[in-house]
Every structure is written in structure tokens, then in C-alpha cells.
Symmetry: C2
Subunit: 213 residues, 2 copies
DNA sequence: GTTGACATACATACCGGTTGGTATATTATT
DNA sequence: AATAATATACCAACCGGTATGTATGTCAAC
């Protein structure tokens, strides 16, 4: 039950080995706490207890809990989604092959403990999007970047004649993002990686329909 | 911002016009509060204030907040998911046509205020599945019923020769559920029904691949 | 000697939950 | 049929604990 204290999971693996300053420590601990408890139930006391940082330090760097939440999205989550889902996509010549490769790579990358808490972006969005416009706008910005990177690569592939010409890149991109997020969600609730694999297989079937053969 | 007090939205529309007893009033108000705030941040005081029921009455009918949450899942959410997604599916001869019809019907049924809070099942699952096994098991039971009703209808269609023979009903069902949930989620964050339509279109494309033509 | 980076101690409000009690309906007894 | 016993449904006040946030103090660096 306290597995979440372990740093060796996909979502929490530090981005670099550099020593974190006080602000960075707070940010990382807040990110973990928010991922585990949600934003509203995230306890500043817990964050402080786990970092050893005091309340004075926290309120020196962040004016209030909400702004701390915003900073976690802007500086932690955005970076991780970009590194995991946006950037790898730009390396592929054929986006269909690229996405299929990404899906298969994800299937191998995720362990059972990784899906226990699911995607931090989804979790925060589910909770906070209807409650706080500041959260919603920041979160949707990340989703849009993800969506657009997929849509753009499909547009390029369409111009190159790699795809069946009658498919709308916006539709394809929206469906891919939705299915991936939905698959992570379902796997998290069931605590079963097989759901991830099944949805991946279904998505790959769909992508084969789109490719020009 | 207080739209959520209005009963005239899809998720909260009463199931029948019968007068609710005290227990039913608490259950419905708790369901709304949990859908809006999440379970942990759901305030018993808010629930009581909106019902006019007192705390003594609440704790007469439910031993604690957690059991109230369980009852909301078992008696409110399960019923609504069944009525919206499971039961309608059983009327169709050809499940591919049936699901396409359901997707199109959903697109017309949902309004912008309906997707503002998204699917109550998804929201609760995102928050509580990692935190409380009682929640998780109750929620996954509902998901399984949904998934199985889709998988079963595809199995029947497979036997009738309505489908391409090389498709696994488990894969198809998992993908459909994931895409629908992911689409609701994306539309909620973006507050944009077009996302729902786009994902619906993508899903229908996928289903055409499966149908025997 | 002023500013930035913290530490300590405290204030205020709200949370879930408990307590002790009342009014009413049901059941058991004679 | 009348009454005693018990269970149900509910109420109002309160409790300990925890939440975020604040006020003030310290101390090093430039």
C-alpha cells in the first residue's frame, strides 16, 4: 500500500540526477502527493513531512496551494508528457508505424505498479477541470500539444501519400488520444496490464485501416 | 458555476418521479456532491444542507462516509450505467450496427452541461480506485458488466457470421469501452462536444473494419 | 543594512464522527 | 383491548483532529 513511496516507477522517476533545490524538492513531492491523493486532498503537511522542508519555505516559494498546483502542472507534468508522448513521435518518417511502435513500447515500459495510479494528467484533469479554470486551461494546453503533434504527423503523412486520403487527421488524432487515455484508465481500475495490451491491439487494428497498403 | 444545482442534466435526471424517502434523498444528494467534488472532498455538511436532512438522520442510515460512498455506487451509479450503456445494447440484432447507433444517439443526447462533469463512474474510479479497495471492486464490477455485455454481443455476432472471423471480441470490447471513456474525458476537459463527435467518428471507422461486408 | 531564504509558532475554519436525547411506530404481553 | 417493551427515524450540539494560511523571527550573503 505504501509502494507509492518508492521512486522507481515510471511516473516518478526523476528526470535528471541533479540535486534538487528546495523549490524543486517541494515541486516533486507535491507532484507525487497530488498524483496519489488528488489535488484537493493533497496535504501540504504530508508534502512537507516527506521533504523535510518547512511550511515557511513552502510559502516563501509559492503564494498558496493553488499556485503550487499550477506550478506542478506547468513544470512537472507538462515536461513528462512531452518527453513520453510528444517528442518521440517526431522521429518517425511514417506516423502510423511510429504510433504502432510507441504503443508497443508503452506496453513493455509500463509495469503493474506504474498503472496503479494511472496517468497523472488524466487524474488531475478528471478532478480539477470542472472546479478550477486555471487548472483546466493548463491541462488542456498539454492535451492540445499531444493531440496536435499526432494530428500534424498524420497531416504530413497524408501529403506524402502514406495514408488513405479520406481520413481526417483531427478525427484520427482525437481517437488515438482518447483510446490511449481510456486504456490507461481501464487498466488502472482493473489493475490489469492485459487491458492495456487489448486496447493497444485494437488501436493497431484501427491504424492498419488507415495505412495505405 | 452553480449549474450543477440544476437537476435537468443527463447524469442527474431522476430515474423516476416517485417521492424520495430520507435515505433516497441523502443518496441522490451524495451522488451529486460526489460527482461534483469527488468522494474525498465531498462534504457531508453540503449534502445535508442541500437536502434539509440532519446529520443524525444520515448517520442513522449509513454508518460512515465510506459506506455512503459504497451505497452511491451500488444503488445509483450501477443503475444508471446499466440503463444507459448495457441494457440498450441487448435490443440489437447486429451489434456493430447497434453500437454505431448508440454512439450516434449519445452524440445527440449529451449537451455541453452534461459533459461538464463527465461520467461519474470515470471520475470516481480515477480518484478512489488506488485509494480504497472497496471502491475499486465495486467500480470494476460495473465496468466488467459493461465490457461483458459488449463482448457477449460481439461473440453472438461472430457465431452468426456477421463479423470478420479474425477479431477477438475481448479486444474489440475493451477498445470500445476505452475509447468511449477517453472521449468523454477529453470532451470534459476541453468542454467541447466536437471531441465527442470526432472520437465517435473514429470509433465508427474502426467498427466498419470489423463488419463483414 | 537590506534582501532573500528559510524556520517556528500560531490562528481560524472546517472536517467526519459521536453523543444524548425525542417522537413515533411496531410488537408483545396480559 | 389496553398497556408495556422495543425498535426505528430523526434532531441539535458538540468533539478532536486536521486543513490551509499567517505572523514573526533568524541568519547568511552581498
Amino acid at each position: 500500500m505504501n509502494d507509492f513511496l518508492n521512486d522507481n516507477v515510471y511516473w516518478w522517476r526523476p528526470l535528471d540526477d541533479a540535486e534538487l533545490d528546495t523549490r524543486g524538492k517541494i515541486l516533486l513531492a507535491a507532484y507525487k502527493e497530488m498524483h496519489y491523493q488528488g489535488f484537493q486532498s493533497a496535504s501540504l503537511s504530508n508534502i512537507l513531512a516527506r521533504t523535510g522542508v518547512t511550511k515557511g519555505a513552502l510559502y516563501h516559494h509559492f503564494p498558496n496551494k493553488t499556485e503550487l498546483g499550477y506550478a506542478v502542472i506547468d513544470e512537472v507534468i507538462a515536461q513528462r508528457i512531452h518527453l513520453s508522448f510528444v517528442k518521440p513521435l517526431q522521429n518517425f518518417e511514417n506516423p502510423v508505424d511510429g504510433i504502432i511502435e510507441l504503443i508497443q513500447a508503452s506496453g513493455e515500459a509500463f509495469s503493474l505498479t506504474d498503472i496503479e495510479l494511472g496517468c497523472p494528467l488524466t487524474a488531475l484533469a478528471q478532478e480539477m477541470a470542472p472546479l478550477d479554470e486555471g487548472f483546466r486551461l493548463r491541462l488542456i494546453k498539454i492535451y492540445n500539444q499531444w493531440h496536435q503533434s499526432i494530428a500534424d504527423s498524420f497531416r504530413r503523412a497524408l501529403e506524402k501519400g502514406q495514408l488513405q486520403p479520406d481520413f481526417d487527421p483531427e478525427i484520427v488524432a482525437a481517437t488515438i488520444v482518447a483510446t490511449l487515455e481510456g486504456a490507461m484508465h481501464a487498466a488502472k481500475v482493473a489493475q490489469d496490464l492485459n487491458i492495456l495490451y487489448r486496447c493497444g491491439a485494437g488501436l493497431i487494428q484501427y491504424l492498419h485501416l488507415i495505412r495505405k497498403n
